[in-house]
């Protein structure tokens, strides 16, 4: 069995090991973590033929530089508009390539997006916690943040010539400046004019943006009365409003309970796009009913499943493809005569 060894030459802040997430422990204070943009992570996996997401690396705008010290391994990158430089060959962050011994892979922020995902064809060795390698940023448990000088081991590393090439970036992976919300569950504590302002005025994302959440700037959201609500369970997507009237959208590493009122909750299928936005980007929230939210999420889930299944399908090897193209082109071996 072949393995590959990679050295982290440079890792920006918030570059972490993630898998699909750590589910079922919210009752013990543990949110799911996992990728900020779950669809792009699933796409990177699917591009290598995997329909079940496994361990990979979430790269922030801080960027990542790896050097292959030993072996060779194919990898997929998906998410955002980052730039990729593999041994001098430049491409977008929607690509499958192979890194050979002595070569460098450089991933840097680009035109859009806040996160991109790097997944290897092989088994990336990482620390697990509660059965998952996803990094929980508050505690550092799980695979953890990458640090310069650290080595990454890929077991069962493969070179996948059949997978090499560009990945089509689907529309659902691109932020469009909007998000659907279901109002509540504590909208009754806000002045009606505040709920209206939240839904009618675009908000800006601020640079108070990490894996726990993103603070927004825009109209202050005033409570109808001074309020102390008991701490209650919160979700990825909860829009909680602190005492100063400022809303925060909670993201992958959110706390599991909180005592601030939630004016609205972003529906799950819009969170990946929201997470890809950047500080200063504008976002407009649109209210839908709970029934509409379920309809939207179901139709988005269908679209994603279709795309992922298509992408993950086995592909003919490069030789087979060349052979087929030759046949289609009418160039046949002279032995047929």
């Amino acid at each position: 069995m072949s393995s590959a060894q990679l050295r982290v030459v440079h890792a920006g802040p918030l570059v972490t090991i993630q898998d699909a997430g750590r589910f079922g422990h919210m009752r013990f204070g543990v949110s799911a973590s996992g990728p900020m943009d779950r669809s792009s992570f699933a796409i990177a996996n699917a591009a290598l033929g995997l329909t079940e997401a496994k361990t990979g690396i979430e790269v922030s705008l801080g960027g990542l530089v790896l050097e292959c010290r030993q072996g060779a391994v194919s990898f997929a990158v998906a998410g955002g508009g980052f730039s990729v430089d593999c041994a001098g060959v430049k491409s977008s962050s929607w690509t499958v390539q192979t890194l050979f011994e002595g070569q460098k892979l450089i991933i840097r922020g680009g035109a859009w997006g806040s996160w991109t995902y790097l997944v290897f064809s092989g088994r990336q060795i990482a620390r697990t916690w509660l059965g998952s390698t996803a990094t929980q940023s508050m505690s550092g448990f799980g695979g953890g943040a990458l640090r310069s000088g650290q080595d990454i081991e890929i077991e069962d590393a493969h070179v996948r010539d059949d997978r090499i090439g560009d990945i089509p970036c689907p529309a659902f992976a691109q932020p469009d400046g909007t998000a659907h919300v279901v109002v509540g569950p504590q909208d009754q504590h806000f002045l009606p004019i505040s709920v209206e302002a939240f839904l009618s005025t675009p908000y800006k994302l601020t640079d108070a943006f990490d894996r726990m959440g993103v603070r927004l700037s825009g109209p202050k959201l005033e409570l109808s009365e001074a309020l102390s609500i008991p701490s209650e369970p919160i979700l990825r997507g909860s829009v909680q409003v602190s005492g100063d009237g400022v809303p925060t959208v909670l993201l992958a590493d959110h706390q599991t309970t909180g005592g601030y009122p939630k004016i609205a909750t972003v529906i799950s299928s819009d969170l990946d796009r929201l997470s890809q936005m950047r500080a200063q980007d504008r976002i407009k929230f649109t209210a839908v009913t709970a029934e509409q939210a379920v309809e939207i999420v179901r139709s988005e889930a269908d679209a994603r499943r279709t795309y992922i299944n298509e992408l993950a399908k086995p592909r003919p090897s490069l030789n087979e493809r060349l052979l087929r193209e030759n046949l289609i082109g009418g160039v046949v071996s002279g032995n047929d005569d």
Binding site: H25, M26, F28, V182, G184, S231, P233, T265, A290, V297
Partner: protein, 220 residues
């Protein structure tokens, strides 16, 4: 206990709320409903998060809807508040010695009591795990005696070590990781609330009861 209210949260969760004010009775009713939902194995429900006055049921929106989950939970009502006497009980060692209890003196001063009287009240009380929250393994233990209750500090203190036992209002909590806090630290426990055992990674279930056993520094 009255019928809870139901509120849809996003596309994939339902908030079931019994009251807006915290009480033992309300929390024990939430815990009973949490148990009933776990037993019922409702189609599409993936996870339930119990808290002090309400619980959140998370479901897969491609499998079910708010309406179906609400109907399934309503069919379990009414529930009888959970009985503390039937819950698992845990005894945690605690050391109140100097160096382990940086805020004990301030709590004693605030309540006009001696430090020994604060310790005696704290160590004699019986607590219930009302919920987890804030950080992994942070179990909110309700039952701090009225006489020693103090409000949260106005400014949080950074880098509080794991194992700190601290109080704020009626709640007591033993920390599991290094975190900032505005609570008053009155002791240290060597108990591992995050057990490291994959079969039972957290020492308490919500609804379990807890008491403390005083030890001296030498026994730590």
């Amino acid at each position: 206990m009255s019928v809870p209210s139901f509120k849809a949260v996003a596309d994939h969760a339902l908030l079931v709320e019994y009251a807006t004010e915290i009480s033992d009775e309300v929390n024990r009713t939430v815990i009973a409903l949490d148990h009933a939902i776990a037993e019922a194995q409702i189609n599409g429900v993936q996870e339930v998060v119990p808290a002090l006055v309400n619980l959140l049921a998370l479901f897969d929106p491609t499998q079910t809807t708010h309406r179906e989950v609400e109907a399934a939970i309503r069919a379990l009502l009414p529930v009888v508040p959970a009985d503390d006497a039937k819950a698992d009980h845990h005894v945690l060692d605690i050391c109140y010695d100097e160096g382990m209890s940086p805020d004990l003196e301030a709590v004693a001063k605030a309540r006009g009591m001696s430090q020994e009287a604060i310790i005696k009240a704290h160590v004699s009380a019986r607590y219930r795990v009302g919920m987890y929250g804030f950080a992994p393994g942070y179990a909110y233990l309700s039952g701090v005696p009225d006489a020693i209750q103090v409000p949260r500090k106005t400014t949080p203190v950074r880098d509080i070590p794991a194992g700190s036992v601290m109080i704020a209002g009626p709640q007591c909590l033993a920390t599991t990781i290094i975190m900032p806090t505005g609570w008053s630290i009155i002791g240290h426990t060597p108990a591992k609330i995050m057990t490291g055992d994959p079969a039972r990674p957290f020492l308490f279930d919500v609804g379990d009861t807890v008491s403390f056993n005083r030890i001296r520094r030498e026994a730590l």
